[in-house]
Symmetry: C3
Subunit: 390 residues, 3 copies
Amino acid sequence: MSAASLIFSCSMHVGVSHPKVAAKSSACCFINHPCRHLNSTSCGHSMVMEKSKLSHRGDEILCRAGAVQVESAPSFSVGQKFQLDDVIEAQQFDRESLNAIFEVARSMENIKSNSPASQMLKGYLMATLFYEPSTRTRLSFESAMKRLGGDVLTTENAREFSSAAKGETLEDTIRTVEGYSDIIVMRHFESGAARRAAATANIPVINAGDGPGQHPSQALLDVYTIEREIGKLDGIRVGLVGDLANGRTVRSLAYLLAKYQDVKFYFVSPNVVKMKDDIKDYLTSKGVEWEESSDLMEVASKCDVVYQTRIQKERFGEKIELYEEARGKYIVNQDVLKVMKKHAVVMHPLPRLDEITVDVDADPRAAYFRQAKNGLYIRMALLKVLLLGW
Amino acid sequence: MSAASLIFSCSMHVGVSHPKVAAKSSACCFINHPCRHLNSTSCGHSMVMEKSKLSHRGDEILCRAGAVQVESAPSFSVGQKFQLDDVIEAQQFDRESLNAIFEVARSMENIKSNSPASQMLKGYLMATLFYEPSTRTRLSFESAMKRLGGDVLTTENAREFSSAAKGETLEDTIRTVEGYSDIIVMRHFESGAARRAAATANIPVINAGDGPGQHPSQALLDVYTIEREIGKLDGIRVGLVGDLANGRTVRSLAYLLAKYQDVKFYFVSPNVVKMKDDIKDYLTSKGVEWEESSDLMEVASKCDVVYQTRIQKERFGEKIELYEEARGKYIVNQDVLKVMKKHAVVMHPLPRLDEITVDVDADPRAAYFRQAKNGLYIRMALLKVLLLGW
Amino acid sequence: MSAASLIFSCSMHVGVSHPKVAAKSSACCFINHPCRHLNSTSCGHSMVMEKSKLSHRGDEILCRAGAVQVESAPSFSVGQKFQLDDVIEAQQFDRESLNAIFEVARSMENIKSNSPASQMLKGYLMATLFYEPSTRTRLSFESAMKRLGGDVLTTENAREFSSAAKGETLEDTIRTVEGYSDIIVMRHFESGAARRAAATANIPVINAGDGPGQHPSQALLDVYTIEREIGKLDGIRVGLVGDLANGRTVRSLAYLLAKYQDVKFYFVSPNVVKMKDDIKDYLTSKGVEWEESSDLMEVASKCDVVYQTRIQKERFGEKIELYEEARGKYIVNQDVLKVMKKHAVVMHPLPRLDEITVDVDADPRAAYFRQAKNGLYIRMALLKVLLLGW
């Protein structure tokens, strides 16, 4: 995904009434959708439903949508908000939609074992269609589905569906898999694959990472974690540390936090992996303050969030000495903890190597394992909203 | 599987009373079988039960069986029919048994989410024992099991059980896995493996493809789809197109449709992959009309079903130019649609390459994705009948 | 694991009150633990709980523990016994704890499908974190979990979590996975990995094999099978046959049976794979009789249990002729059966090659498939005790 599209292609569905659910209600579905029965006489020849295309009008558009005729567990209803059909990229979300998702995620934290809420997705099947393995992400989504009473069809070798030898298109695969399941969580090696899948499918699609492209549930859990840990998103000071050039995580985070008031960023990174101009320009255009610094201690002393990232060795190719130099430069350790504010937190998308020393783990400000756990709640929330509505 | 066995080894159990269930009721079972309690005192030393062998008497034998003492969800009972212990090959089935299975499959289409019927296999465990990966088939079976409330143990690397290094026999593997599950769905690379597994197991076995041999659930779903789409099986005209030499799909389909009245076949294929003599001879011996044609348009204009297949590149080895020539010869596209009857359908076992152009998909007569979905209903029906009886 | 640690590092928790459950009750858990609500206000910043370390005081220490405040399905309660937090090695268990586990395992054999007992682990999620594939063991654990109403997150490619490329520590992986699940069943290629995982996790860990180290559920099911088949453990005569040098199975079995009265061992093995001195010395030190023999027929005629094992080809490297000689030397066949006592049994950890001939299978004394099935009951018992308490 180019910088331009990252910045300007924010998409929300405006004034449309749940095209996926509408499509599902008139297609010849199988079991699971509450809306299915509305139109269940059309089962002779199936109709290929036209999906309303995603509208791209920039990120300032207010998101409203028509009434959604989906049963929704009352205790999790937060009113009829905008429509969420698929989760494809961080740019779909604005402040309002983020808040709505976070509200659902918070309710997920309180679900008791074997309570009615823990069964809200009973009877629903999620297909994890992974074209490349990503065990951590897969387990997180599958745990989310099962924690809500749903079940899962798993594949980590989805490339076989469309192997060069057999040559099936992604679109054909999606049409087959949507016959077996109610929602597809897809990981793919090609940027844009999730959008193509969503354009084909009559059931919701969640992008669990498409190559160098997007990984929106990671972006959401990062923002959610900051709000949970700091208690607010307006007015925060955020230090982004480490590999700022290649990490889609920090780029998405900068993009999303720019939607809040009076946020200031500090970029602390080795020269070879500095934050790129597209994000800097975008922040400037939005009136968001940022500065670059080479002094991690000073930044750490000012920030609410120190967001550390792994220097990605695989990006350096044969320039191992450059990697080694970059890697050792900014380490979060006890010295950094000492200067950090009492309420501040250290975050990291994991996995980590030694860019955060192990002795940091015991400090209450080490938020990275809680952050990983928040991924569960965010994914529970996304599954709930996509399958049951708000 | 040789032509001779394909044609003459039709097997149905005649006048026997559910040998697998009988065996299970006296073996030291674990949880799941309704019959288990009948004889549950024999749990000291387990008895190795003799399984009644499959009887092979040709395909004209009427299938009757004694009473089956199995609980059966009343709404799905279709009376006490013949006995179904395992699903090993298309030739097991005659017209009567196909109809009975299709009746169950139709009832599966109407199961509502979270209805009692959607839980009929609750407490049952299916082991998908795949010695070679086949994601599509596996997901279809696993979806079928879960749509009925059952659960699944998955393995796509079953070769490890019996790796050359360790050298365990298939029979030993089956005896272990049957201790963990209630039904085995097996994919194997060797023809005949499913029959060996069924001969060993005291629980039902479904063949999900054994090398160049059989893939009976695919054969069933093809016939089921024709009946659902055309409304009848007697008197139909069927064009089989593409790779008729290597495709087990079209061979099984020709075999099964020969059981119906006044069916006529048209074979349309490149010279290098023509329908083999065994099937032609068999059809002739059954009084079924067939003819070969090189004119797809003319055939398409007459047929109720145009069954397209993929030319299998892997069969051509280094003769790539032969493959390329064969591949482009008969394409189903808008021109073909134009001459087809209004009620006729295009079918394909999937995956497809370009032997059906993508612009055909939107036509209501494009039945191939519905066909894939029908695989779900057929597999639900097989699981139901094998585990609960009729 | 060195011989010394195998023999002397027996660990049981003495006088401590369920440190894992205590930890869980005050950590910010998600759904599943009955104890979770006790302390559910501490969800702001999570506290890293100190786990009480395993105490190592030799194998004679009596195992008692404080009261466990866990809900337990009444019919499976066997009183408040000692505490079981993790299952790491065979040496944790003494006679009393083995008996307690076997009592639970026996109750597992009688659970009826869809009975309340078959749902006792509903709402619990088990993560099978396998760093190397072991399909048999994995399916057995997953079947155990599902037979009790629980669900499973599966991974057989857990090495990706901590690949050399990314370099995550096992500890970090465990901290992530424990956020998604309620119990971890781990297979690892390094001896000691399970102990490290258990020391990190705030949820129970079961060792499903760690390299050349331990595989405690196999050891338990072996002893359980002897008790079920022979009716007692005191006073038995046990012939260990085959590869006694490399098999962790027979070594663990000798270790555990030494806890019973008047047990005598016969070691029958090719010279190249004889029982090592550490076990012989240990048995002697415990006053357990043993002798070596090269006469399988004579040993078989005296024993209650003939425990055959596979000669592991992979241990012989290029010395194939040594392997072939060792392999053919001691075969259990009809001749051996003829001299065996009527009540005696043949056992084998599986997979077998030809060290037991197939014609032995039909004999009621062939216990090896029942032994495999007993693995299911033992694993059900372990899951029940670890998650619900006694």
